[in-house]
């Protein structure tokens, strides 16, 4: 079968860094020529099970004075509800979007954190499909919210900023159209995808570098592996931070886009 270990240490003495293929292990249940049920799919479905299990367990026995599990669940839920939903969207409207923000944050969070957990070891959002889907969903939702609230007038509200002199309009309006309706979903998805991909590659590179150096005859090169190990641990910590941060950023941007649609007439 395909080598499951990193292909760094062949006996030729040259270092082959791990490439994008390290993200694509063979399918678990292949069907057809090049398709199959793969690790990314398994992890996505597992994440749904984990999140649902945790929050249903935390919210099952609801008490005025919460127990430990319920308290943890309330803190996590309250972080998204108040820290993102209420603070950004605010006022009367935010409760409608709390389930979406909640599901988005914890779905992305767990799928990112996979990359930092041994054995799982794959941030599923480093496969671009998941990021495309989530960003596309958010794109459809915020445009839908705007159209539902303001009708077709929303399209004007979204691209024509108020208080801009008429002679600048020919420049501003195309910029707004491009930035809001074309670039926004791309940056929204690619930011998540690219940080996960790059982080995973950096950690994988460090790992294979260590493996390569340890097997060298030369004592100096062998010793350098310790240096790379320290670096790898630091990168691993940074990656773990970025995984949490990107889940937050993605959800926060979702809330900001929705707020922009809800309050399109306010600016």
């Amino acid at each position: 079968m395909t080598p499951l270990t990193l292909p760094a240490a062949d006996n030729s003495g040259t270092f082959t860094p791990p490439g994008l293929e390290s993200l694509h292990l063979p399918a678990i249940l292949p069907w057809g020529a090049d398709e199959g049920f793969n690790k990314q799919m398994l992890l996505v479905l597992l994440s749904v099970v984990f999140i649902a299990w945790f929050f249903i367990a935390a919210s099952r026995k609801q008490q005025l004075v919460p127990g430990k599990l319920q308290f943890l669940g309330e803190q996590l839920y309250g972080f998204v509800r108040n820290g993102i939903g209420k603070d950004v969207i605010g006022g009367r409207d935010f409760m409608k979007f709390v389930p979406l923000l909640f599901a988005l944050f914890f779905f992305i969070l767990l799928n990112n954190i996979y990359g930092a957990i041994p054995f799982f070891q794959l941030p599923t959002m480093s496969h671009v499909g998941g990021a495309y889907f989530l960003a596309g969903l958010v794109y459809v939702i915020w445009i839908g919210v705007g159209l539902r609230r303001f009708g077709l007038r929303y399209l004007k509200l979204a691209v024509v900023p108020s208080g801009v002199p008429w002679y600048i309009m020919p420049i501003v309006v195309p910029i707004e159209i491009i930035s809001n309706f074309i670039v926004r979903p791309m940056t929204h998805s690619l930011r998540l995808f690219a940080t996960m991909l790059a982080g995973h590659l950096v950690v994988a590179l460090a790992g294979s570098g260590i493996a390569f150096l340890v097997e060298q005859e030369n004592v100096v090169l062998k010793g350098l592996s310790v240096f790379v190990l320290v670096f790898a641990v630091a990168m691993y910590m940074l990656e773990a931070l970025i995984m949490v941060l990107q889940a937050y950023v993605f959800t926060l941007l979702t809330a900001i886009y929705i707020q922009g649609a809800v309050g399109a007439d306010a600016h």
Partner: protein, 182 residues
Amino acid sequence: MHQLMVQAATESANPLAPNWWEVLVTAVGFAILLFIAVKYVVPAFEKTFAARAEAIEGGIAKAEKAQAEASAALEEYKQQLVDARTEANRIREEARAEGAQILAELKERAAAEAARLTEQAHVQIEAERQHALVSLRSEVGSMATTLAGRIVGEALDDDARASRVVDRFLADLEAQNAGAAK
């Protein structure tokens, strides 16, 4: 194996091209999670938050109500106390006035009684004096007549004459008395 390596190689050629099966699985997984969030998780937490807020606000409202009741009762008691004091003062004043009135009445009545007794005594004395005067007059008359008869030796038994003599004597006496009194 060779095929799989080729697949990996072709996929890695463009990391921006999605595997549509992965998109589908992500969509389905996220839809399930969103459904669970809408249906179970968010309502459960919101219900608890609402119940907790209500419990706290309800407690505060209850405390405020008790406070208000207590101050109302205090106010009422104070009012009652003031009323009671006023009432007591009024009663005292009335009693004093009444006492004074009774005293005055009694005094008046006593004075009237005294006046009446005095009057009665006067009348009685006057009557007795008249009576004494009359009886004295008749006795003195008869005694004087008898005495004069004896002295004069003349029978003065003729009553008519005797009575005239006595009356004249007495009138002279009274005239003398009246003159002396003047």
